[in-house]
Amino acid sequence: MSMKRRTFLKGSLMTGALGVAVGAGLLKPKTVLAAWPEAAFSADTMDAAMSAIGGNGAAESDQIKFVKTPEIAENGNVVPINIESSIAGIEKISVLVNNNPSPLACQYHLTSNCDGYVAARIKMRKTSDVTAIVKAGGKTFMAKKTDQGHHRRMWRLISYVIVR
């Protein structure tokens, strides 16, 4: 990652040469954001998504916890995910839903003042693991949570009622 880009992200957009460029209409402020990672979000397999976000070889870590994240999601449209990590120097947290059509759901670029914590409400198409990839100090770490996604309509549940 270019050091120049990191400086843009941290400070005010209107200083120095950059300010001149913006003022002259050459750059729109939002240009200085790193481009939205098209390839990573379009990747349709876990392998491809992990590759695209630099998650390959991430070490499993018990310092990444899924908190208040359900085993069985009530509704696949709105699954609440809460990730807490005590790893030092976190730069990025990525959330992947292994069995979604495009596994990468969202990514959070955190500055050094941020807690290793993000919460999201995501869509899960079916039963799937949810994987968190944490990038900190040049290394990557991961943790997984097994989630049952939303129930599909199951006719055989009727037998439960008759037995009663």
């Binding site: 005010s12 954001l33 495009s102 941020c114 993000v118 919460a119 409400r121």
Partner: protein, 105 residues
């Protein structure tokens, strides 16, 4: 153009600023079909959402279509005080955007 799509709750908690936001946005995946026309509803989703604290960027999230409709954001950071300004801005794949500010309570 008054959009008002963002609700922010920012408050000090345990010495840190806890920021939560709810954004009104359809977050269409591009896979679902319109029930009336049978046509696929084109993807329409927030790609980038940024939080600034007193003008400095503190968090930048990249979202894809798997983020739920009327998306939710929550994170915490230190180095803030009550009364500081939190600004949340988003842009979506159609080039629309909105932003809102709130004071940390």
């Amino acid at each position: 153009m008054a959009k008002k799509t963002i609700k922010i709750r920012a408050k000090m908690s345990g010495g840190k600023a806890a920021v939560k936001a709810l954004v009104k946005h359809p977050m269409h995946t591009g896979l679902a079909k319109d029930k009336k026309t049978g046509e696929k509803i084109p993807a329409h989703f927030i790609k980038d959402i940024i939080c600034e604290h007193n003008g400095a960027k503190v968090m930048h999230a990249e979202w894809g279509v798997a983020v739920s409709k009327n998306p939710y954001l929550s994170f915490r950071f230190s180095g803030a005080n009550k009364g500081d300004t939190i600004k949340i801005s988003w842009t979506d794949n159609k080039g629309d955007s909105d932003s809102a500010e709130a004071k940390i309570g």
